[in-house]
Amino acid sequence: MPEFDSGGMAWMMVASALVLLMTPGLAFFYGGLVRAKNVVSTMMYSFAAMALMPVIWVLWGYSLAFGEGNAFIGDFSYVLLNGINMTSTDPAADIMFVIFQGMFAIITPALITGAFVERFKFSTYLIFITLWVTLVYAPICHWVWGGGWISQGVFGDQGALDFAGGTVVHLNAGAAALVAAWMVGKRRGGAAGTIVAHNVPYVILGASLLWFGWFGFNAGSELAADGVAANAFLTTNTAAAMAALTWLVISGLHTGKMSAVGAATGAVAGLVAITPACGWVDVGGALMIGLTVSIVCYLSAMAMEKSGIDDALVVFGVHGVGGAWGALMTGVFAAEAIGGVKGLIEGNGAIVLEQLVGILATFAYSAVVTFIILKILDVIPGLGLQEIEETELGGLDVNIHGERGYIADGAD
Protein backbone atom coordinates (compact mmCIF):
# COMPACT_ATOMS: atom_id res chain seq x y z
CA MET A 1 0.00 0.00 0.00
CA PRO A 2 1.41 3.36 -1.00
CA GLU A 3 1.99 6.49 1.03
CA PHE A 4 0.50 9.57 -0.51
CA ASP A 5 1.89 13.08 -0.40
CA SER A 6 -0.52 15.95 -0.75
CA GLY A 7 -0.31 15.94 -4.55
CA GLY A 8 -0.76 12.18 -4.70
CA MET A 9 -3.72 12.42 -2.39
CA ALA A 10 -5.27 15.16 -4.48
CA TRP A 11 -4.84 13.05 -7.59
CA MET A 12 -6.22 9.89 -6.01
CA MET A 13 -9.34 11.63 -4.74
CA VAL A 14 -9.96 13.01 -8.20
CA ALA A 15 -9.16 9.69 -9.84
CA SER A 16 -11.64 7.97 -7.55
CA ALA A 17 -14.33 10.49 -8.37
CA LEU A 18 -13.60 10.02 -12.07
CA VAL A 19 -13.95 6.25 -11.81
CA LEU A 20 -17.24 6.68 -9.95
CA LEU A 21 -18.50 8.82 -12.83
CA MET A 22 -17.78 6.03 -15.28
CA THR A 23 -20.76 4.07 -14.00
CA PRO A 24 -23.31 6.79 -14.86
CA GLY A 25 -21.38 7.09 -18.11
CA LEU A 26 -22.00 3.43 -18.69
CA ALA A 27 -25.66 3.91 -17.75
CA PHE A 28 -26.01 6.40 -20.60
CA PHE A 29 -23.88 4.41 -23.03
CA TYR A 30 -25.96 1.30 -22.47
CA GLY A 31 -29.19 3.23 -21.94
CA GLY A 32 -28.93 4.91 -25.32
CA LEU A 33 -28.38 1.60 -27.09
CA VAL A 34 -31.56 -0.15 -25.94
CA ARG A 35 -35.15 0.54 -26.86
CA ALA A 36 -36.97 3.45 -25.23
CA LYS A 37 -39.20 1.18 -23.18
CA ASN A 38 -36.15 -0.20 -21.34
CA VAL A 39 -34.05 2.91 -20.83
CA VAL A 40 -34.80 3.29 -17.12
CA SER A 41 -34.27 -0.39 -16.52
CA THR A 42 -30.95 -0.41 -18.34
CA MET A 43 -29.72 2.63 -16.43
CA MET A 44 -30.91 1.15 -13.18
CA TYR A 45 -28.72 -1.92 -13.59
CA SER A 46 -25.79 0.49 -13.42
CA PHE A 47 -27.19 2.85 -10.82
CA ALA A 48 -28.09 -0.06 -8.56
CA ALA A 49 -24.45 -1.16 -8.73
CA MET A 50 -23.56 2.30 -7.40
CA ALA A 51 -26.01 1.77 -4.56
CA LEU A 52 -25.08 -1.78 -3.65
CA MET A 53 -21.36 -2.27 -4.32
CA PRO A 54 -19.96 0.43 -2.00
CA VAL A 55 -21.90 -1.10 0.86
CA ILE A 56 -20.61 -4.60 0.15
CA TRP A 57 -17.11 -3.22 -0.39
CA VAL A 58 -16.80 -1.70 3.08
CA LEU A 59 -18.57 -4.63 4.69
CA TRP A 60 -16.58 -7.55 3.27
CA GLY A 61 -15.53 -6.95 -0.33
CA TYR A 62 -12.32 -5.06 0.34
CA SER A 63 -11.32 -7.57 2.95
CA LEU A 64 -11.76 -10.53 0.62
CA ALA A 65 -9.81 -8.81 -2.13
CA PHE A 66 -7.00 -7.22 -0.16
CA GLY A 67 -6.90 -9.02 3.17
CA GLU A 68 -3.72 -11.06 3.40
CA GLY A 69 -5.36 -14.48 3.09
CA ASN A 70 -3.63 -16.89 0.74
CA ALA A 71 -2.64 -16.95 -2.94
CA PHE A 72 -6.27 -17.32 -3.99
CA ILE A 73 -8.39 -15.10 -1.78
CA GLY A 74 -8.12 -12.58 1.04
CA ASP A 75 -9.69 -12.97 4.45
CA PHE A 76 -12.14 -11.28 6.81
CA SER A 77 -9.58 -9.22 8.70
CA TYR A 78 -10.76 -5.93 7.25
CA VAL A 79 -14.49 -6.51 7.60
CA LEU A 80 -16.22 -3.13 7.99
CA LEU A 81 -12.75 -1.69 7.29
CA ASN A 82 -11.68 -2.85 10.70
CA GLY A 83 -8.38 -1.17 11.57
CA ILE A 84 -8.39 1.12 8.55
CA ASN A 85 -9.01 4.55 9.94
CA MET A 86 -7.47 7.77 11.11
CA THR A 87 -5.63 6.13 13.97
CA SER A 88 -3.83 3.51 11.91
CA THR A 89 -0.22 4.41 11.18
CA ASP A 90 -0.82 5.39 7.62
CA PRO A 91 -4.46 6.23 7.68
CA ALA A 92 -4.73 8.30 4.58
CA ALA A 93 -3.03 5.80 2.36
CA ASP A 94 -5.22 2.95 3.38
CA ILE A 95 -8.49 4.81 3.25
CA MET A 96 -7.60 6.23 -0.15
CA PHE A 97 -6.73 2.79 -1.48
CA VAL A 98 -10.03 1.39 -0.22
CA ILE A 99 -11.89 4.19 -1.97
CA PHE A 100 -10.11 3.90 -5.30
CA GLN A 101 -10.40 0.13 -5.46
CA GLY A 102 -14.02 0.33 -4.37
CA MET A 103 -14.89 2.29 -7.48
CA PHE A 104 -13.58 -0.58 -9.64
CA ALA A 105 -15.90 -2.92 -7.80
CA ILE A 106 -18.85 -0.77 -8.89
CA ILE A 107 -18.11 -0.55 -12.58
CA THR A 108 -17.11 -4.18 -13.12
CA PRO A 109 -20.50 -5.77 -12.40
CA ALA A 110 -22.18 -2.84 -14.15
CA LEU A 111 -20.24 -3.67 -17.31
CA ILE A 112 -21.73 -7.16 -17.40
CA THR A 113 -25.27 -5.83 -17.54
CA GLY A 114 -25.02 -4.90 -21.22
CA ALA A 115 -25.24 -8.60 -22.00
CA PHE A 116 -28.67 -9.13 -20.49
CA VAL A 117 -30.40 -5.77 -20.68
CA GLU A 118 -34.07 -5.63 -21.63
CA ARG A 119 -34.85 -8.93 -19.92
CA PHE A 120 -32.94 -9.83 -16.74
CA LYS A 121 -35.09 -9.90 -13.63
CA PHE A 122 -34.13 -6.92 -11.51
CA SER A 123 -34.60 -8.51 -8.08
CA THR A 124 -32.49 -11.50 -9.09
CA TYR A 125 -29.94 -9.08 -10.49
CA LEU A 126 -29.40 -7.46 -7.11
CA ILE A 127 -28.61 -10.84 -5.61
CA PHE A 128 -26.52 -11.83 -8.61
CA ILE A 129 -24.10 -8.93 -8.36
CA THR A 130 -23.83 -9.38 -4.61
CA LEU A 131 -22.70 -12.96 -5.11
CA TRP A 132 -20.65 -12.17 -8.17
CA VAL A 133 -18.56 -9.44 -6.59
CA THR A 134 -17.95 -11.70 -3.60
CA LEU A 135 -17.18 -14.94 -5.39
CA VAL A 136 -15.74 -13.81 -8.71
CA TYR A 137 -14.48 -10.26 -8.52
CA ALA A 138 -12.86 -10.28 -5.08
CA PRO A 139 -10.80 -13.45 -5.73
CA ILE A 140 -9.55 -12.37 -9.16
CA CYS A 141 -8.73 -8.94 -7.77
CA HIS A 142 -6.76 -10.70 -5.05
CA TRP A 143 -4.87 -12.85 -7.59
CA VAL A 144 -3.68 -9.86 -9.59
CA TRP A 145 -3.50 -6.90 -7.22
CA GLY A 146 -3.84 -8.36 -3.74
CA GLY A 147 -0.57 -10.27 -3.83
CA GLY A 148 -2.16 -13.47 -5.15
CA TRP A 149 -0.74 -16.09 -7.47
CA ILE A 150 -0.94 -14.25 -10.78
CA SER A 151 1.01 -11.28 -9.46
CA GLN A 152 3.72 -13.64 -8.27
CA GLY A 153 4.48 -15.01 -11.73
CA VAL A 154 4.11 -18.54 -13.00
CA PHE A 155 7.12 -18.95 -15.27
CA GLY A 156 9.37 -16.40 -13.62
CA ASP A 157 9.36 -13.65 -11.02
CA GLN A 158 7.51 -11.19 -13.17
CA GLY A 159 3.84 -11.99 -13.00
CA ALA A 160 1.34 -11.04 -15.69
CA LEU A 161 1.15 -7.32 -16.32
CA ASP A 162 -2.18 -5.65 -15.73
CA PHE A 163 -1.66 -1.98 -15.05
CA ALA A 164 -5.26 -0.92 -14.49
CA GLY A 165 -7.50 -3.93 -14.83
CA GLY A 166 -7.63 -5.32 -18.33
CA THR A 167 -8.13 -8.82 -16.98
CA VAL A 168 -9.52 -8.08 -13.51
CA VAL A 169 -12.17 -5.73 -14.80
CA HIS A 170 -12.76 -6.11 -18.51
CA LEU A 171 -11.97 -9.68 -19.43
CA ASN A 172 -13.59 -10.76 -16.20
CA ALA A 173 -16.78 -8.83 -16.96
CA GLY A 174 -16.69 -10.00 -20.57
CA ALA A 175 -16.48 -13.65 -19.62
CA ALA A 176 -19.33 -13.26 -17.15
CA ALA A 177 -21.32 -11.42 -19.81
CA LEU A 178 -20.97 -14.25 -22.29
CA VAL A 179 -22.18 -16.80 -19.81
CA ALA A 180 -24.99 -14.58 -18.56
CA ALA A 181 -26.28 -13.70 -22.02
CA TRP A 182 -26.45 -17.37 -22.84
CA MET A 183 -28.07 -18.46 -19.57
CA VAL A 184 -30.64 -15.68 -19.28
CA GLY A 185 -31.82 -16.38 -22.82
CA LYS A 186 -32.66 -14.22 -25.80
CA ARG A 187 -34.77 -11.13 -25.81
CA ARG A 188 -38.31 -11.79 -26.97
CA GLY A 189 -39.99 -9.73 -29.67
CA GLY A 190 -37.24 -8.17 -31.69
CA ALA A 191 -34.53 -10.12 -33.43
CA ALA A 192 -31.14 -8.84 -32.28
CA GLY A 193 -30.26 -7.60 -35.72
CA THR A 194 -33.24 -5.26 -36.02
CA ILE A 195 -32.92 -3.29 -32.81
CA VAL A 196 -31.38 0.14 -33.23
CA ALA A 197 -30.17 2.57 -30.57
CA HIS A 198 -33.08 4.66 -29.29
CA ASN A 199 -30.94 7.65 -28.30
CA VAL A 200 -27.62 8.22 -30.01
CA PRO A 201 -26.75 11.40 -28.06
CA TYR A 202 -26.89 9.33 -24.86
CA VAL A 203 -24.45 6.87 -26.42
CA ILE A 204 -22.08 9.73 -27.21
CA LEU A 205 -22.53 11.25 -23.75
CA GLY A 206 -21.90 7.90 -22.14
CA ALA A 207 -18.81 7.14 -24.20
CA SER A 208 -17.46 10.61 -23.45
CA LEU A 209 -17.99 10.26 -19.71
CA LEU A 210 -16.34 6.85 -19.87
CA TRP A 211 -13.36 8.32 -21.73
CA PHE A 212 -13.13 11.18 -19.22
CA GLY A 213 -13.42 8.88 -16.24
CA TRP A 214 -10.97 6.38 -17.69
CA PHE A 215 -8.14 8.84 -17.07
CA GLY A 216 -8.80 8.27 -13.40
CA PHE A 217 -9.08 4.55 -13.94
CA ASN A 218 -5.78 4.18 -15.80
CA ALA A 219 -3.57 7.04 -14.66
CA GLY A 220 -5.00 6.68 -11.16
CA SER A 221 -3.81 3.08 -11.04
CA GLU A 222 -0.28 4.41 -10.66
CA LEU A 223 -1.43 5.56 -7.20
CA ALA A 224 0.71 8.67 -7.56
CA ALA A 225 0.86 11.85 -9.62
CA ASP A 226 4.12 11.17 -11.41
CA GLY A 227 5.64 10.46 -14.79
CA VAL A 228 4.26 6.96 -15.04
CA ALA A 229 0.80 8.33 -14.41
CA ALA A 230 1.35 10.92 -17.13
CA ASN A 231 2.45 8.18 -19.50
CA ALA A 232 -0.64 6.16 -18.65
CA PHE A 233 -2.76 9.24 -19.29
CA LEU A 234 -1.18 9.83 -22.69
CA THR A 235 -1.34 6.23 -23.87
CA THR A 236 -4.96 6.04 -22.73
CA ASN A 237 -5.97 9.08 -24.71
CA THR A 238 -4.00 7.99 -27.76
CA ALA A 239 -5.37 4.46 -27.87
CA ALA A 240 -8.94 5.63 -27.34
CA ALA A 241 -8.67 8.07 -30.23
CA MET A 242 -6.91 5.66 -32.55
CA ALA A 243 -9.48 2.94 -31.89
CA ALA A 244 -12.43 5.31 -32.34
CA LEU A 245 -10.99 6.47 -35.63
CA THR A 246 -10.32 2.93 -36.80
CA TRP A 247 -13.83 1.72 -36.00
CA LEU A 248 -15.33 4.74 -37.72
CA VAL A 249 -13.33 4.07 -40.86
CA ILE A 250 -13.98 0.32 -40.91
CA SER A 251 -17.68 0.85 -40.35
CA GLY A 252 -17.67 3.44 -43.15
CA LEU A 253 -15.94 1.14 -45.58
CA HIS A 254 -17.98 -1.89 -44.63
CA THR A 255 -21.48 -0.44 -44.40
CA GLY A 256 -21.18 2.78 -46.36
CA LYS A 257 -22.21 4.88 -43.33
CA MET A 258 -20.01 6.48 -40.69
CA SER A 259 -21.64 5.19 -37.53
CA ALA A 260 -21.58 7.37 -34.41
CA VAL A 261 -22.38 4.33 -32.29
CA GLY A 262 -19.44 2.67 -34.01
CA ALA A 263 -17.06 5.52 -33.22
CA ALA A 264 -18.19 5.48 -29.59
CA THR A 265 -17.77 1.74 -29.42
CA GLY A 266 -14.32 2.01 -30.93
CA ALA A 267 -13.31 4.51 -28.27
CA VAL A 268 -14.47 2.14 -25.56
CA ALA A 269 -12.67 -0.79 -27.19
CA GLY A 270 -9.48 1.27 -27.29
CA LEU A 271 -9.86 2.21 -23.65
CA VAL A 272 -10.42 -1.42 -22.72
CA ALA A 273 -7.36 -2.63 -24.57
CA ILE A 274 -5.01 0.05 -23.27
CA THR A 275 -6.10 -0.58 -19.68
CA PRO A 276 -3.63 -3.38 -18.88
CA ALA A 277 -0.96 -1.73 -21.03
CA CYS A 278 -1.11 1.97 -20.21
CA GLY A 279 1.78 2.01 -17.73
CA TRP A 280 3.95 -0.42 -19.68
CA VAL A 281 3.88 0.81 -23.29
CA ASP A 282 4.78 4.04 -25.07
CA VAL A 283 2.72 6.11 -27.43
CA GLY A 284 3.71 3.99 -30.44
CA GLY A 285 2.44 0.91 -28.66
CA ALA A 286 -0.74 2.78 -27.81
CA LEU A 287 -1.36 3.58 -31.47
CA MET A 288 -0.86 -0.05 -32.43
CA ILE A 289 -3.10 -1.30 -29.66
CA GLY A 290 -5.81 1.19 -30.61
CA LEU A 291 -5.60 0.25 -34.25
CA THR A 292 -5.64 -3.49 -33.79
CA VAL A 293 -8.25 -3.72 -31.06
CA SER A 294 -10.87 -2.07 -33.22
CA ILE A 295 -10.25 -4.52 -36.02
CA VAL A 296 -10.41 -7.47 -33.64
CA CYS A 297 -13.49 -6.24 -31.81
CA TYR A 298 -15.29 -5.23 -34.98
CA LEU A 299 -14.90 -8.77 -36.21
CA SER A 300 -15.94 -10.22 -32.88
CA ALA A 301 -18.98 -7.93 -32.76
CA MET A 302 -20.00 -9.23 -36.18
CA ALA A 303 -19.41 -12.78 -35.07
CA MET A 304 -21.51 -12.29 -31.93
CA GLU A 305 -24.41 -11.03 -34.04
CA LYS A 306 -24.45 -14.37 -35.81
CA SER A 307 -23.64 -16.47 -32.77
CA GLY A 308 -27.13 -17.14 -31.50
CA ILE A 309 -26.18 -15.81 -28.08
CA ASP A 310 -27.99 -12.57 -27.43
CA ASP A 311 -25.13 -10.58 -25.86
CA ALA A 312 -27.32 -7.53 -26.36
CA LEU A 313 -24.73 -4.77 -26.18
CA VAL A 314 -21.73 -6.85 -27.26
CA VAL A 315 -20.07 -6.90 -23.85
CA PHE A 316 -18.16 -10.06 -24.59
CA GLY A 317 -17.17 -8.78 -28.00
CA VAL A 318 -15.80 -5.51 -26.65
CA HIS A 319 -14.77 -6.07 -23.04
CA GLY A 320 -14.01 -9.78 -23.20
CA VAL A 321 -12.21 -9.95 -26.51
CA GLY A 322 -10.84 -6.41 -26.19
CA GLY A 323 -9.64 -7.06 -22.66
CA ALA A 324 -7.89 -10.26 -23.69
CA TRP A 325 -6.39 -8.60 -26.74
CA GLY A 326 -5.12 -5.71 -24.64
CA ALA A 327 -3.57 -8.08 -22.10
CA LEU A 328 -1.82 -9.95 -24.87
CA MET A 329 -0.61 -6.79 -26.58
CA THR A 330 0.71 -5.56 -23.25
CA GLY A 331 3.07 -8.50 -23.40
CA VAL A 332 3.96 -7.66 -26.97
CA PHE A 333 4.50 -3.91 -26.70
CA ALA A 334 5.80 -3.52 -23.13
CA ALA A 335 8.81 -1.18 -23.28
CA GLU A 336 11.60 -1.27 -20.72
CA ALA A 337 12.00 2.50 -20.96
CA ILE A 338 8.44 2.98 -19.73
CA GLY A 339 7.72 0.44 -17.04
CA GLY A 340 10.96 -1.47 -16.64
CA VAL A 341 9.63 -4.64 -18.26
CA LYS A 342 10.48 -5.78 -21.77
CA GLY A 343 7.83 -7.18 -24.08
CA LEU A 344 7.96 -9.58 -26.98
CA ILE A 345 9.14 -6.89 -29.39
CA GLU A 346 12.06 -6.17 -27.13
CA GLY A 347 12.81 -9.88 -27.06
CA ASN A 348 11.03 -11.06 -23.93
CA GLY A 349 8.70 -13.83 -25.04
CA ALA A 350 8.16 -15.16 -21.53
CA ILE A 351 5.96 -12.24 -20.56
CA VAL A 352 3.50 -13.18 -23.29
CA LEU A 353 3.11 -16.57 -21.67
CA GLU A 354 2.45 -14.93 -18.30
CA GLN A 355 -0.18 -12.77 -19.99
CA LEU A 356 -1.78 -15.86 -21.51
CA VAL A 357 -1.94 -17.53 -18.14
CA GLY A 358 -3.63 -14.46 -16.70
CA ILE A 359 -6.10 -14.36 -19.55
CA LEU A 360 -7.00 -18.03 -19.45
CA ALA A 361 -7.23 -18.23 -15.70
CA THR A 362 -9.43 -15.16 -15.47
CA PHE A 363 -11.66 -16.27 -18.29
CA ALA A 364 -12.08 -19.78 -17.02
CA TYR A 365 -12.69 -18.88 -13.39
CA SER A 366 -15.08 -16.07 -14.20
CA ALA A 367 -17.07 -18.12 -16.70
CA VAL A 368 -17.40 -21.16 -14.48
CA VAL A 369 -18.31 -19.40 -11.26
CA THR A 370 -20.70 -17.04 -13.03
CA PHE A 371 -22.36 -20.11 -14.51
CA ILE A 372 -22.76 -21.74 -11.13
CA ILE A 373 -24.18 -18.60 -9.52
CA LEU A 374 -26.72 -18.09 -12.29
CA LYS A 375 -27.70 -21.74 -12.31
CA ILE A 376 -28.50 -21.59 -8.62
CA LEU A 377 -30.42 -18.33 -8.93
CA ASP A 378 -32.36 -19.81 -11.81
CA VAL A 379 -33.71 -22.73 -9.84
CA ILE A 380 -34.50 -20.99 -6.57
CA PRO A 381 -38.27 -20.54 -6.46
CA GLY A 382 -39.29 -16.90 -6.65
CA LEU A 383 -36.08 -15.87 -8.33
CA GLY A 384 -35.30 -16.99 -11.90
CA LEU A 385 -33.37 -15.12 -14.55
CA GLN A 386 -35.65 -13.82 -17.28
CA GLU A 387 -38.69 -11.61 -16.84
CA ILE A 388 -41.99 -13.06 -18.00
CA GLU A 389 -42.94 -12.37 -21.59
CA GLU A 390 -45.62 -9.79 -20.87
CA THR A 391 -43.23 -7.73 -18.76
CA GLU A 392 -40.55 -7.92 -21.38
CA LEU A 393 -42.77 -6.99 -24.31
CA GLY A 394 -44.43 -4.11 -22.51
CA GLY A 395 -41.05 -2.90 -21.32
CA LEU A 396 -39.21 -3.29 -18.05
CA ASP A 397 -39.42 0.39 -17.23
CA VAL A 398 -43.10 0.58 -16.57
CA ASN A 399 -43.57 -2.97 -15.38
CA ILE A 400 -40.62 -3.24 -12.99
CA HIS A 401 -39.75 0.32 -12.06
CA GLY A 402 -43.19 1.92 -12.43
CA GLU A 403 -41.67 4.63 -14.57
CA ARG A 404 -41.47 5.55 -18.23
CA GLY A 405 -38.29 7.10 -19.51
CA TYR A 406 -39.94 9.98 -21.31
CA ILE A 407 -43.35 11.55 -20.95
CA ALA A 408 -44.56 14.31 -23.23
CA ASP A 409 -47.20 16.84 -22.29
CA GLY A 410 -50.75 16.22 -23.44
CA ALA A 411 -51.41 12.76 -24.83
CA ASP A 412 -48.90 11.13 -22.48
Partner: protein, 116 residues
Protein backbone atom coordinates in the same frame (compact mmCIF):
# COMPACT_ATOMS: atom_id res chain seq x y z
CA UNK B 1 -61.67 3.14 -51.07
CA UNK B 2 -61.65 2.69 -47.33
CA UNK B 3 -59.42 3.74 -44.53
CA UNK B 4 -58.55 1.11 -41.97
CA UNK B 5 -57.24 2.35 -38.66
CA UNK B 6 -56.05 0.00 -35.96
CA UNK B 7 -54.98 0.83 -32.44
CA UNK B 8 -52.47 -1.84 -31.46
CA UNK B 9 -49.76 -2.59 -28.91
CA UNK B 10 -46.51 -0.78 -29.81
CA UNK B 11 -44.50 -4.00 -29.69
CA UNK B 12 -46.68 -5.38 -32.51
CA UNK B 13 -46.07 -2.44 -34.82
CA UNK B 14 -43.21 -3.66 -36.92
CA UNK B 15 -44.52 -7.19 -37.47
CA UNK B 16 -47.96 -5.85 -38.38
CA UNK B 17 -46.32 -3.58 -40.91
CA UNK B 18 -44.74 -6.55 -42.59
CA UNK B 19 -48.00 -8.48 -42.61
CA UNK B 20 -49.83 -5.58 -44.23
CA UNK B 21 -47.28 -5.42 -46.96
CA UNK B 22 -47.66 -9.11 -47.62
CA UNK B 23 -51.40 -8.55 -47.84
CA UNK B 24 -50.71 -6.17 -50.70
CA UNK B 25 -51.60 -2.77 -49.27
CA UNK B 26 -50.00 0.10 -51.16
CA UNK B 27 -48.70 1.76 -48.05
CA UNK B 28 -49.47 2.66 -44.45
CA UNK B 29 -48.42 5.02 -41.75
CA UNK B 30 -48.06 4.71 -38.00
CA UNK B 31 -48.61 7.14 -35.16
CA UNK B 32 -47.76 6.85 -31.51
CA UNK B 33 -50.79 7.54 -29.36
CA UNK B 34 -51.89 6.79 -25.85
CA UNK B 35 -55.17 5.15 -25.22
CA UNK B 36 -57.64 3.97 -22.69
CA UNK B 37 -60.34 1.36 -22.97
CA UNK B 38 -61.17 -1.69 -20.91
CA UNK B 39 -57.53 -1.72 -19.95
CA UNK B 40 -57.92 1.00 -17.39
CA UNK B 41 -54.35 2.21 -17.27
CA UNK B 42 -50.94 1.31 -15.97
CA UNK B 43 -49.60 1.54 -12.48
CA UNK B 44 -46.84 4.10 -12.19
CA UNK B 45 -45.07 5.79 -9.32
CA UNK B 46 -45.33 9.45 -8.40
CA UNK B 47 -43.50 11.64 -5.94
CA UNK B 48 -40.16 10.11 -5.16
CA UNK B 49 -41.20 6.52 -5.73
CA UNK B 50 -43.41 6.98 -2.72
CA UNK B 51 -46.84 6.15 -4.10
CA UNK B 52 -48.36 4.19 -6.92
CA UNK B 53 -51.18 5.60 -9.05
CA UNK B 54 -52.99 4.39 -12.14
CA UNK B 55 -52.38 6.49 -15.22
CA UNK B 56 -54.87 6.40 -18.07
CA UNK B 57 -52.28 6.98 -20.78
CA UNK B 58 -51.21 3.58 -22.12
CA UNK B 59 -48.86 3.79 -25.08
CA UNK B 60 -50.42 2.38 -28.23
CA UNK B 61 -49.61 2.58 -31.88
CA UNK B 62 -52.16 3.64 -34.45
CA UNK B 63 -51.65 2.11 -37.86
CA UNK B 64 -53.50 3.59 -40.81
CA UNK B 65 -53.83 2.26 -44.31
CA UNK B 66 -56.07 3.26 -47.18
CA UNK B 67 -57.04 0.37 -49.39
CA UNK B 68 -59.53 -0.52 -52.09
CA UNK B 69 -62.81 -1.97 -50.86
CA UNK B 70 -61.88 -5.48 -51.98
CA UNK B 71 -58.91 -5.67 -49.66
CA UNK B 72 -61.00 -4.89 -46.60
CA UNK B 73 -61.62 -8.38 -45.28
CA UNK B 74 -58.12 -9.57 -45.96
CA UNK B 75 -56.56 -6.66 -44.13
CA UNK B 76 -58.94 -6.82 -41.21
CA UNK B 77 -58.30 -10.51 -40.74
CA UNK B 78 -54.59 -9.97 -40.87
CA UNK B 79 -54.82 -7.22 -38.29
CA UNK B 80 -56.96 -9.34 -36.00
CA UNK B 81 -54.65 -12.31 -36.07
CA UNK B 82 -51.43 -10.35 -36.16
CA UNK B 83 -52.21 -7.96 -33.33
CA UNK B 84 -53.48 -10.50 -30.86
CA UNK B 85 -51.11 -11.04 -27.96
CA UNK B 86 -51.00 -14.74 -27.15
CA UNK B 87 -54.56 -15.89 -26.53
CA UNK B 88 -55.73 -12.30 -26.67
CA UNK B 89 -55.67 -10.16 -23.57
CA UNK B 90 -57.27 -6.89 -22.63
CA UNK B 91 -55.73 -3.99 -24.48
CA UNK B 92 -55.01 -5.74 -27.78
CA UNK B 93 -56.75 -2.90 -29.54
CA UNK B 94 -59.43 -2.09 -32.06
CA UNK B 95 -59.96 -1.58 -35.75
CA UNK B 96 -62.05 1.21 -37.23
CA UNK B 97 -63.10 1.46 -40.86
CA UNK B 98 -64.36 4.51 -42.70
CA UNK B 99 -64.89 5.70 -46.29
CA UNK B 100 -62.33 7.65 -48.26
CA UNK B 101 -63.70 9.81 -51.07
CA UNK B 102 -60.53 10.44 -52.94
CA UNK B 103 -56.83 9.61 -52.87
CA UNK B 104 -54.00 11.37 -54.68
CA UNK B 105 -50.37 10.41 -55.18
CA UNK B 106 -48.44 13.66 -54.89
CA UNK B 107 -45.53 12.59 -57.05
CA UNK B 108 -47.59 11.67 -60.10
CA UNK B 109 -50.96 13.38 -59.55
CA UNK B 110 -52.54 9.94 -59.94
CA UNK B 111 -55.98 9.69 -58.34
CA UNK B 112 -58.23 6.99 -57.00
CA UNK B 113 -57.17 3.37 -56.69
CA UNK B 114 -54.04 3.96 -58.68
CA UNK B 115 -52.87 6.33 -55.98
CA UNK B 116 -53.00 3.74 -53.20
Amino acid sequence: MIKIEAVIRPEMASSIGELLEEAGVGGYYMTNVTGKGNQKGVEVLTGRGTSAITRAAIPKTLITTVVSDELKDKVVNILISGAKSGEGSIGDGKIFISKIEEAVRIRTNEKGKKAL
